[in-house]
């Protein structure tokens, strides 16, 4: 048994965790050209260090108490803005999730990116991203969180645009940066408003002020919504979701790390970290829940018809994030965080497995795949595990977390949202198994390609994640005890320990719904006993709308982008013709005046003299008449 001092010592060194990946970033940036493929080992090793320390810190936090350390960073007059780190339950958990997934992705990339010339750059970017993400989760105040929040966005931007020569990657990276930045501005404003209302960026101070009634109710709602806008941008919530599917242009490990497990979950994390603020405003909660529910069903419905394997997973991610928001919005703090964790594992798994598939067949179109089950003896089963977990099949982790969310929505009493969640669960099961059957069952469609299983550095992370995707659910079950829930809320004055057992029928219903989805997918795509066109095939209105993602992109293109361009061109005409024209007009008239006056330049000295003298005379006369300046 460790004594108190040791536990603190464990947490005191939490600041070092983000520094390993930063070191990796700097090292690879400086020496990447020399190290070449060896740089992968540096990245892997340093992230492993991070992971080990994270486990230590988590252990320390389970044993000990919340630890916080900070120092002055910036003084603005009387206000001292601090920087530091904090280890509480949520942070410690996130540290482990992030560093673990990051480590596995580093490892996986060794195999996946083998032939890439710019491997050091890739690992450097991964390091930067991991640094930012780890920094984000240990931030004790909003400003620091915002800083890392943006850096995470930078990492994501760089990695999406890793294949810089591809026009799609370029557009996707730009879109990702700008869309998330729109959300960030919301967070930025919310943060500043909170600062002026509470006098601090510190989470605890803000919560105390909120609790103590130091802020008006409308201001709480406003700031909560603004902060939620930030979360929407990062977590790809409707209507700021369009960047996330496009972000799949990046290398697949990146999609697994950033656009499934960690960064996109940062929005959920933010809402969870600011939870007391949201709790103080029912309307903000309702908005969070509604946006979450809407996004869940909206993205799931798009996922039904997509053909690109990564895009299907991306829409699934958006939908699952909506789920988490729904959970948080309906008061299910534990449910949201729990699903965040399980989702991180199984979605990372799915992406890595998808990467393995792509690695094997060199296409992303699911219609061109098929019959890979026999070829990919490891990828296939782990993919199946992931699919089962996300579909909410009992005994897999997704089942427990989804159940939590459904009960929380039910208990909240908002039955519309509950209905949405159930339908989304059905959709999820359906499109995930559609994907599974299309890829792995049937005949091998692509001929002439040597399909082979991926190297061990790729399969190993998948196996680990598969194990986690199964077992991680058991830390918070209605059967064996809600360890996670009680630990997360323990000692937190703003959160009540949850005893969410919910009606038992919810669990049964959820199981039924997902099994129904699976069954339907089986019948359509495996058995072909139901025609694929029974609800409208390709070319039908419904299919077209869904396939084109409800035309949201086109809508933005036609309104906001167009408007910006229009304003710009309009202003450029103002600039060119009015501002510049005015100046040119003045210049031209002066020129004309000069022409006119040059007629007086007769070359006659006496004329000049006479004119100069007459001027003098007039001045002197005026002086004499007015009495002069000092008169």
């Amino acid at each position: 048994m460790l004594d108190k001092g040791d536990e603190d010592a464990m947490m005191e060194i939490a600041w070092i965790i983000p520094l390993f990946p930063l070191l990796s970033f700097l090292l690879l940036l400086a020496a990447g050209r020399v190290l070449k493929e060896k740089s992968a080992y540096i990245g892997i090793l340093l992230t492993l260090c991070s992971f080990l320390f994270s486990v230590l810190v988590l252990w320390g936090r389970i044993r000990g108490d919340t630890y916080k350390a900070e120092a002055d960073w910036l003084n603005i007059g009387e206000a001292h803005i601090k920087a530091g780190f904090e280890v509480n339950q949520l942070n410690a958990l996130m540290l482990v999730i992030v560093s673990l997934v990051s480590f596995l992705v580093h490892l996986y990339s060794k195999g996946y990116m083998q032939r890439e010339d710019r491997l050091p750059v890739f690992y450097a970017y991964l390091g930067l991203f991991t640094f930012a993400m780890l920094g984000l989760v240990i931030s004790p105040n909003l400003l620091q969180l915002y800083i890392f929040w943006e850096l995470v966005g930078l990492g994501s931007f760089l990695l999406i645009g890793f294949y810089f020569y591809k026009e799609e990657a370029k557009a996707a990276a730009k879109k990702a940066f700008i869309m998330t930045r729109i959300g960030d501005v919301g967070l930025f404003i919310g943060m500043i408003l909170l600062f002026w209302k509470t006098g601090s960026f510190d989470f605890q101070v803000i919560f105390q002020e909120v609790e103590g009634g130091g802020i008006t109710q409308s201001m709480i709602t406003l700031t909560a919504i603004l902060i939620f806008i930030g979360a929407m941008g990062k977590s790809g919530q409707f209507p700021l979701h369009t960047w996330l599917p496009d972000a799949m242009e990046g290398p697949t490990p990146v999609s697994a790390l950033i656009h499934a497990a960690t960064m996109v979950a940062a929005g959920v994390y933010l809402v969870a970290a600011m939870y007391p603020l949201f709790l103080a405003s029912t309307s903000a909660m309702l908005i969070v829940a509604s946006i979450g529910g809407l996004t869940a069903i909206f993205a799931a419905s798009i996922g039904l018809v997509q053909r690109d394997i990564k895009r299907i997973l991306a829409y699934s991610t958006v939908s699952q994030l909506g789920y988490m928001m729904l959970a948080l919005g309906t008061g299910g703090y534990t449910a949201g965080v729990f699903h965040l964790m399980t989702h991180a594992f199984f979605k990372a798994l799915l992406f890595l497995a998808a990467g393995s598939v792509i690695h094997a067949v060199h296409t992303q179109d699911v219609e061109e795949m098929g019959g890979l089950w026999k070829k990919l003896r490891i990828t296939g089963p782990v993919f199946l595990i992931g699919t089962l977990a996300i579909s909410g099949v009992p005994l897999f982790s997704g089942f427990f977390s989804k159940d939590e969310i459904l009960s929380s929505a039910w208990e909240n009493g908002n039955y519309v949202l509950f209905g949405l969640a159930v339908i989304a669960a059905f959709f999820t099961a359906f499109y995930m198994f559609r994907l599974f059957f299309l890829v792995f069952s049937g005949r091998l469609k692509k001929q002439g390609v040597l399909v082979h299983e991926s190297p061990r550095s790729m399969t190993f992370p998948m196996i680990i994640l598969a194990v986690l995707a199964v077992i991680s659910g058991y830390i918070n079950t209605p059967w064996f005890g809600t360890f996670l829930g009680s630990w997360l809320t323990e000692g937190n004055p703003y959160l009540e320990p949850e005893h969410r057992s919910g009606p038992v029928w919810i669990m049964g219903a959820a199981t039924l719904v997902s099994l129904a989805g699976i069954a339907l997918a089986y019948l359509i795509y495996r058995r072909n006993s139901i025609s694929r066109e029974w609800l409208g095939g390709e070319g039908s209105f419904l299919h077209t709308v869904l396939y084109n993602k409800y035309y949201v992109d086109e809508f933005y293109q036609g309104t906001i982008v167009w408007l910006t361009g229009f304003v710009s061109i309009f202003l450029s005409y103002i600039d060119r013709f009015i501002v510049e024209g005015l100046v040119n007009g003045i210049a031209a008239s002066i020129h004309k005046l000069g022409r006119l006056l040059s007629r007086f330049q007769t070359g006659q000295t006496q004329h000049y003299g006479a004119i100069a003298f007459l001027g003098l005379a007039v001045l002197v006369i005026i002086f004499a008449l007015t009495g002069g300046m000092f008169g």
């Binding site: 006496q606 006479a610 003298f613 007459l614 003098l616 005379a617 002197v620 006369i621 002086f623 004499a624």
Partner: protein
């Protein structure tokens, strides 16, 4: 204001000076004009004497009445002018100028009229030249030396200006 001897002297001298000036602008022949101006210069020297500035008066006679007048006469002669001066300036400009000068004069006169400086006792007339010499070689030594540089420059400049062109003129002629 009583009619003292000093007053009389001042009146005569200033009348002579102004007469000389008026003759300058009314006479036709250029040489006559210069001669008229000599009167003015000499009268001004007299005025200086009245202002207890004997040395300046002496210099005035030497430089203006002597040197400058002679130079001007040389100038006139060397330019071989048909020495009547035909004035061709436009009547309009002349009128305008007269008007301007009159206005200027009146304005300045108004200023002079308002001026009231009580005369103070001075000892300038005692050892005037010595005082000038002392001042010139002590307090004003630098401007004094600079003046000599200026004069030298003017000397050289005048020679070069006159010489070069005459040579060129010869070449052109030749």
């Amino acid at each position: 204001m009583t009619l003292s001897g000093e007053m009389l002297a001042f009146t005569l001298l200033s009348l002579a000076a102004i007469m000389g000036g008026i003759l300058l602008i009314t006479l036709d022949r250029v040489v006559h004009m210069v001669i008229a101006l000599v009167f003015t210069f000499i009268s001004i020297a007299g005025i200086y004497v009245m202002l207890s500035a004997e040395f300046v008066a002496a210099v005035q006679v030497l430089i203006y009445s002597g040197a400058i007048t002679i130079i001007m006469l040389f100038g006139i002669m060397l330019t071989r002018h048909n020495d009547t001066n035909q004035q061709t300036a436009g009547i309009f400009r002349k009128l305008l100028l007269l008007l301007g000068i009159a206005g200027f004069g009146i304005a300045v006169y108004a200023g002079i009229y308002q001026l009231d400086i009580p005369p103070e006792e001075t000892s300038l007339h005692i050892d005037n030249t010595r005082k000038i010499g002392t001042a010139l070689y002590s307090r004003h030594i630098i401007p004094f030396e600079l003046t000599s540089v200026l004069l030298l420059a003017a000397l050289v400049g005048a020679i070069i200006l006159a010489k070069k062109d005459s040579e060129k003129g010869e070449e052109e002629e030749g």
